[in-house]
Symmetry: C2
């Protein structure tokens, strides 16, 4: 099997992750932050260590501003719904995933906020220029997809971050595809909310997400329950991180994230350069195949690439890749409808190949050969 669906979830995971996970059946079996016994404290200390590692890796101002959620979608919901300003205006872009669009459009439908959806002028990048012209007096948030999950289009984080800082606007970055694959620095890039899908580029298990936020942010919980703090109070406490982590947290997935993050830190330069090499090769060769249209700009060599073959439905191509060549790829709209409208691929969808550190040159060559055969037949 050739697995090129790493934007859905990375596979395989590093051996270190599996090893770490086995410790939840021995060393880290208790519920952290719920009891005072040493076995529970061992789990709590481990979770805290991973929180600190994440804060350091993404340059978050303080570890308690790293919130563990159930996934990137919950992280984005917490950021968007938990900081909503009634009567305000939010800027997002066609690159955004439904995990950003759907909470925003829910708020719009309720008459709470207004939204502008930005289209990038430049075919390689979402720029601060694209954003700037849409800023209104009541704009309080800009949402940006760091790396589009459809075609890898990148956003110029630092410039957009600076623009937002100048205007005192929250800058939300959807790092679902980029965390672990590209540099993210909350402070240097002036990011106020950073949402992460650790089961992708950080090689964690599915079942945990992360929201990091800046000191500027005023955030309210969207989920209520036991926090292990101020238990006498039937109202939700507001102290981070507990206020935003009601209920038992996903310790096993968090422990896998700790191991995945360690792996990424140790191999970061290598990961970035490998994704660059393989994506560039893939993009170049695909463009030479007759009948293939590539949607990914060659500058965006970050492991996410989309294409179509003539007017074949993208589902038919992935179905052939799967059944005839045992290649796992994704087709359809990839939960990002506005990007497909923008690319004029709403009807056809697109075939997405998405890479990880474990993808190889041989796998890419075999995949190119398969696509050549499909395009020919």
């Amino acid at each position: 099997m050739i697995y090129l669906d790493n934007s859905a979830t990375s596979f395989p995971k590093p051996k270190e992750v599996q090893k770490a996970l086995n410790e939840v059946f021995t060393k880290y079996g208790a519920n952290p932050g719920r009891s005072g016994h040493s076995f529970s404290l061992t789990s709590a200390l481990k979770v805290n260590e991973i929180r600190e590692d994440l804060a350091s890796f993404f340059n978050v101002s303080r570890p308690e501003k790293v919130i563990f959620t159930s996934g990137c979608t919950e992280a984005l919901n917490l950021a968007i719904l938990g900081s909503v300003q009634e009567g305000g205006h939010v800027i997002c872009s066609v690159n955004d995933h439904n995990s950003v669009l759907r909470p925003l459009f829910e708020l719009k439908a309720k008459g709470v906020i207004d939204i502008t959806v930005v289209e990038p002028e430049n075919s390689a990048r979402l720029t601060s220029k694209d954003i700037e012209k849409h800023i209104k007096l009541n704009t309080y948030m800009v949402c940006v997809n760091h790396i589009s999950n459809v075609d890898g289009m990148e956003a110029e984080l630092e410039a957009i971050g600076e623009l937002c800082a100048q205007h005192c606007i929250y800058f939300l970055v959807d790092g679902a595809q980029s965390a672990g694959h590209a540099k993210l620095d909350m402070q240097k890039q002036h990011i106020d909310f950073l949402a992460i899908a650790p089961h992708k580029g950080l090689y964690a298990l599915q079942g945990v997400g992360v929201l990091c936020y800046s000191p500027k942010v005023k955030l309210l919980p969207i989920k209520f329950g036991g926090t292990g703090t101020d238990s006498i109070n039937v109202r939700q406490p507001l102290e981070a991180p507990e206020a935003f982590e009601s209920g038992t947290i996903a310790t096993p997935a968090i422990i896998s994230l700790g191991a995945g993050l360690k792996f990424v830190k140790e191999h970061f330069e290598e990961i970035v350069s490998k994704l660059d090499d393989l994506t560039t090769y893939l993009n170049y060769e695909l463009r030479n195949i007759e009948g293939v249209k590539v949607y990914t700009h060659p500058d965006n060599a970050n492991g996410v690439l989309s294409f179509n073959i003539k007017d074949l439905p993208s589902t038919e191509v992935t179905s052939l890749l799967d059944s005839k060549y045992k290649i796992c790829a994704r087709s359809g709209l990839h939960c990002a409808p506005l990007k497909h409208k923008f690319n004029s691929t709403t009807y056809q969808g697109s075939v997405r190949l998405s890479l990880s550190y474990f993808s190889t040159f041989t796998e890419i060559s075999k995949t190119l050969k398969a696509i050549k055969e499909i395009a020919k037949s």
Copy 2:
């Protein structure tokens, strides 16, 4: 180490759970419901099989009315916030955990609903009589904790369910402590919402919860994002289960739940009778120790038991149990403040011993010996 904190999370897990989990690194590594390739379908089919197993075990009308959440807290939040009726009235009880109380009191503080907190008249059971006298014209929901996480007090589900059905009121059961340890039957007990913490009595990993609901229920999503369905639409679809499972679900924890559920099904009678035996023995012997006050009624022999020693702070007792005897127990308020007010233990909290199928007679005897020594000194 003697682990008697199974109400926080069960430990150890059955070997079958660990074995099943290892398969997420091989067979079930893809993201279910997000791609069409066979590797993804293998995960999707497995998740669906577990959904069906849960529906069958709890007698849910249809598998799509079994929703995977991040935990029992999210399940309760979804039930309470997703079915809220403005201007309505909700009945809960002093047995409720903050995961029920805090979402309810959030709605009350916003002026959306009114709440009545019921105190049980009978010292062993929360009865339908306790509930009935508080039903008003605008009461639309009754929330009941099946087994109190503080002292194991049980609720008479079937009678309360019948009462709710007669009055066309939603009947919500918090099954956090009971699922896997006591009989739960959605249809026989007229339950409309059943929230479950699989990492407790179903021996799953932490990081997944379950909400089952009845055909009578009108439920709206509280989290918005990619569902893998109707991707062209920037508004949240409303079809279950996807509408309520936005984002990547916690497949590894769900797979562990599948294995845990299978284990429980195979050992159910044995589990119930073992918990009954050991709790009864523990309760009887504790009552014979001078200076010990037990809060658990002998009729509630379900594995959850609370006590105090004289006027010693409960934290001091668990601290001694931990440091001197390597016994893991929980002290404090256990996220259930109103129950402690009711038991007059707000200041002292209580020491909780909570059992699982893996607890042994020898462990209980050693624990009793330790408590005797502490009470004497």
